[in-house]
């Protein structure tokens, strides 16, 4: 018993150290300072504070979850130990920063940052601030952990709403529809301060959100009423109609700022749907996907731009040619590359993406592709009397594109071809034995993905009325990959969720841009470790991932225990 108890404290101690190390990481990477000016609750809590405390909260929660059968006093002890240790580590950093100037190495370790960490309290006394805040956060976690689960999830979601609304204060207020006077009055006078929420407003949001979630969560548990198929169908039609109205009116409801974000998100959704076929359906990891976007965009650029003056087609004449070229590029790359498996394929496609970028940038092809300057003055598409050059008009064009692509992807998924893709993804050898033509199946996946990216490229060119080689980097490929992984590989709604979270949100928060790829990396690793099936998983894929765990893990455990 005593050894067990001491091991618990040892665990708490080491978790405290980990939390402290993560806090240091977050501080020195610069997140705390970058978000230190973003008020969540005006004058009280900034987003930086919250980010700083996330490691403490997370590790306290994991430690508590492991010690479920221990008395409350032990839990209290564990939480305070974790809070104390992580807080002391932060204080040590501050003290170190007073003795040595850390800035030549760690650019973020400025006096402003230290002041922020001590919440404005000057030194000797200020040294106590980080431990106290960390202990407070740990105890708060304990408190949330102890309340019953239904209320707990409601409280957590209520708190999330406060954070989201507080952070996005400016973004909420520029939504067109909220500018109507009574709503704007309520929002500006009661809920929001000049930055972030008013303390009272925060409380209001928290109570309303918590109450709503609690109420709705409770309702679901009641006995399910069995509805007749007719009613179900009618409800579904109503739901779709409401959704359609919302989606169609979005650019005018939200205003120009949001239209831009929506359009970018839309292009990523289109690429995501394409890559989802390649990676999600067929299991071929393509890291050079942006190449096909580039091919689509450049074909349109070359064929229509008056700046280059090579051809003078209209957008609609160039569109089918661009799609054909992208599709052919998919086949030409696919033919040699698809004979290899797995990770080699990933690297080769990455190489291909780089080759395309280098060619586009080179002086050699400058007279055709514009070199480093790219291609300017691409005429916007004209549809009858309407010139599609405003953000709102383009939104509808992109929406139609997404509609077509999503429809094709959805129909393909359960088709004969779609099933072949999934068979190939799960086991190539077995699929081949079942009579699936591997090369043809993979090639179709590859070229369909290329086609969709090409379409996104043409629309992207129309949106910007120019094509820049510097926007065709590896990072875009990764961006698309991350969004389908976050959403759930192979899942079509997952692509939408992923794009909204990963492209839409960073578009809203300008502070976020700087750390966007940091978060992407974190998200990729985190998702793969803890939830490989994604946020909106596809049923089959989920089964596959967990099946693998169940079957393969036991013998391994045997093997390692044999060694010990």
């Amino acid at each position: 018993m005593t050894t067990e108890t001491s091991s618990i404290w040892k665990k708490a101690f080491s978790n405290g150290l980990i939390a402290g190390a993560l806090c240091l990481l977050v501080i020195l990477v610069g997140l705390v300072e970058a978000f230190g000016d973003t008020d969540v609750i005006s004058g009280m809590v900034t987003l930086g504070d919250i980010i700083l405390l996330i490691p403490v909260i997370m590790l306290t929660y994991t430690s508590l979850r492991g010690s479920i059968e221990f008395p409350k006093l032990t839990m209290l002890g564990i939480s305070s130990v974790i809070g104390l240790i992580s807080g002391v580590i932060i204080t040590l950093l501050i003290l170190l920063g007073q003795v040595v100037d850390l800035r030549p190495m760690f650019v973020n370790a400025s006096p402003t940052l230290f002041n922020m960490l001590m919440r404005g309290v000057p030194l000797p006394l200020g040294a106590l601030v980080p431990p106290l805040t960390c202990i407070l956060a740990a105890l708060l976690t304990l408190g949330i952990y102890l309340i019953p689960s239904r209320l707990r999830s409601a409280v957590i979601q209520g708190a999330l709403w406060v954070v989201v609304l507080g952070t996005l204060r400016d973004q909420v207020l520029i939504i067109d529809i909220l500018k109507i006077s009574p709503i704007a009055f309520v929002l500006k006078r009661i809920v929001f301060a000049t930055s972030g929420l008013r303390p009272f407003g925060a409380l209001l949001v928290f109570v309303i959100a918590t109450g709503l979630v609690y109420y709705l969560g409770g309702r679901k548990k009641g006995p399910a009423v069995i509805k007749s198929p007719k009613v179900v169908k009618r409800n579904r039609i109503i739901l779709i109609a409401i959704l359609a109205v919302i989606v169609l009116s979005l650019p005018y409801v939200l205003g120009i700022f949001y239209s831009e974000i929506l359009n970018t998100t839309g292009l990523f959704i289109m690429m995501g749907l394409g890559l989802n076929i390649v990676v999600g359906f067929a299991g071929l990891l393509d890291l050079g996907y942006v190449a096909f976007y580039a091919i689509g965009a450049y074909t349109v650029g070359v064929l229509t731009s008056s700046g280059l003056g090579l051809f003078h087609l209209t957008f609609w004449q160039a569109l089918p040619i661009a799609l054909l070229v992208a599709w052919l590029a998919g086949i030409i790359l696919g033919l040699p590359v698809l004979r290899m498996r797995g990770d080699y394929l990933a690297i080769v496609t990455l190489g291909f993406g780089e080759i395309v970028r280098l060619l586009v940038l080179s002086d050699w092809l400058k007279s055709f592709l514009g070199g480093t300057q790219g291609i300017q003055s691409i005429p916007p598409p004209i549809l009858g009397p309407i010139k599609l050059d405003t953000l709102q008009n383009l939104y509808y064009l992109i929406l139609i594109g997404i509609g077509i692509v999503a429809f094709i992807a959805w129909r393909l998924k359960d088709s004969h071809l779609g099933r072949s893709w999934m068979a190939v993804r799960e086991d190539e050898d077995v699929a081949q034995a079942m009579g699936i033509n591997l090369v043809l199946t993979k090639l179709l996946a590859f070229s369909t993905g290329a086609l969709f990216a090409g379409l996104a490229g043409t629309l992207g060119a129309a949106k910007l009325t120019s094509v820049y080689p510097h926007s065709m980097t590896f990072i875009v490929s990764i961006n698309v990959l991350v969004l389908i992984i976050i959403g759930g590989m192979g899942s079509i709604p997952g692509v939408f969720v992923g794009a909204l979270v990963l492209v839409g949100l960073p578009g809203l928060l300008s502070e976020f841009q700087e750390y966007r790829f940091w978060f992407y990396g974190l998200a990729l690793v985190g998702m793969m470790l803890f939830r490989p099936e994604g946020l909106w998983p596809e049923a089959r894929r989920k089964l596959e991932l967990h099946e693998a765990e169940e079957i393969i893990e036991p013998p391994i455990n045997d093997a390692t225990s044999a060694v010990q």
């Binding site: 020195l28 990477v29 610069g30 997140l31 030549p104 190495m105 760690f106 650019v107 973020n108 990676v279 299991g283 990891l285 890291l287 030409i332 033919l335 040699p336 590359v337 004979r339 290899m340 498996r341 797995g342 990770d343 080699y344 990933a346 690297i347 080769v348 190489g351 291909f352 780089e354 080759i355 280098l358 060619l359 940038l361 080179s362 050699w364 990959l481 991350v482 992984i485 790829f517 940091w518 992407y520 990396g521 974190l522 998200a523 990729l524 690793v525 998702m527 793969m528 470790l529 490989p532 991932l545 693998a548 765990e549 393969i552 893990e553 391994i556 093997a559 390692t560 044999a562 060694v563």
Partner: protein
């Protein structure tokens, strides 16, 4: 005979071979035309060769990390390029500090050893953290999962270091004792280049010795053959994998310092392209093979350095040096298609990946 040939050859093969032959012809034509034009002297060719060799040594050292990890875990440690970046990007601050107190050029050898140790230390730490935090749990996950994790880890590390040390390019101070050249006959080799080439070769020999001659090396080879059987033989598989990551990290850290000696500049994105090329080198030499990595790296360095002048210029391509990265990637694609086993390796890409 012809009939059998017709049955085994598919359209894919024909297209692949056609592309291969076209590139081959382009290279030969380009080379002949460059030779005929004769615009470069022998001395220039020798200089290009030396610069190719030094580049190659760096690729080789990074490639060792890819090769060792691939040999054991059958996974591409995509984040290895960040292991390479982390060392020199951290050690630059020590170098600058030593320079500012005047120690750097008074005791250059001690300084060089200190910054190399720091660089290797940081790289080893990052490599071990990667293994512990990200890869260990995924050792038996479906094959795409660790690869995607590695890509994520790579981005995470890049932007972590960017956050730590800033967006700027940091510059290593010069060593006085490495200035100037060293002459054999009529050939002048810059001292830095000589140091890089020799230490690259030495590192390869040391690692080869570790893998082939020590007990741990034997255990590494056993684990690479079959983890479960190795475990039954009393080998601590986890420890061996950690050791392998450490070894890869160390060679990446040393490679980083050599890179810094040549180019002086380090920044958070410096790992990406060399990492990709080092992977190419590892594949070219035969992945999983230490000597192969060195051979592949050196060859790749040479091709990259000589190639643009040798055959691209002959084809009349302006500013051919812009395309030198393209050459490396083209080699990668074609090696993987025509000889996935590389120059010295076993055939892995189809059977085990």
């Amino acid at each position: 005979m012809l009939k059998r040939w017709r049955q085994t050859v598919t359209w894919t093969d024909i297209v692949v071979w056609a592309i291969g032959v076209a590139i081959g012809i382009a290279i030969i034509v380009g080379t002949i035309r460059t030779w005929q034009a004769g615009q470069y002297t022998a001395e220039q060719w020798i200089n290009l060769t030396i610069s190719g060799l030094k580049l190659g040594s760096i690729y080789a050292l990074i490639a060792l990390g890819y090769t060792l990890v691939y040999g054991i875990l059958r996974m591409i440690n995509f984040a290895h390029s960040e292991v390479f970046m982390s060392g020199p990007f951290t050690a630059v601050f020590l170098a600058k500090y030593l320079d500012s107190i005047g120690f750097y050029n008074t005791y250059p050898l001690i300084s060089l050893i200190l910054i190399t140790l720091l660089s290797a230390g940081v790289s080893i730490t990052i490599a071990l953290l990667l293994e512990r935090v990200a890869y260990r749990r995924l050792r038996f996950a479906p094959r795409l999962v660790p690869l995607i994790t590695a890509i994520g880890a790579s981005f995470f590390l890049q932007y972590t270091f960017r956050g730590f040390y800033g967006n700027d390019i940091e510059t290593y101070p010069n060593f006085d004792f490495l200035k100037g050249t060293w002459t054999i006959g009529s050939i002048a080799i810059p001292k830095t280049d000589l140091l890089v080439i020799v230490s690259g070769f030495m590192m390869m020999l040391i690692l080869y010795g570790v893998v082939q001659r020590t007990k741990t090396g034997k255990a590494m080879r056993a684990v690479s053959e079959d983890k479960e059987v190795a475990a039954l033989m009393g080998i601590d598989v986890d420890r061996i994998i950690v050791f392998t990551f450490g070894l890869g990290g160390a060679s990446a850290g040393v490679a980083g310092i050599l890179y810094a000696l040549i180019y002086q500049n380090v920044h958070f994105y410096m790992g990406f392209i060399p990492g990709l090329k080092a992977f190419t080198a590892a594949v070219l030499g035969g992945i999983g093979n230490v000597v192969g990595a060195w051979l592949g790296g050196t060859l790749l360095g040479l091709i990259e350095s000589l190639g643009p002048n040798l055959f691209l210029q002959g084809l009349g391509i302006p500013a051919a040096n812009q395309l030198k990265d393209g050459i490396a990637f083209t080699i990668l694609v074609f090696i993987l298609i025509f000889r996935p086993s590389g120059l010295l390796g076993e055939r892995i890409s189809k059977t085990k990946a």
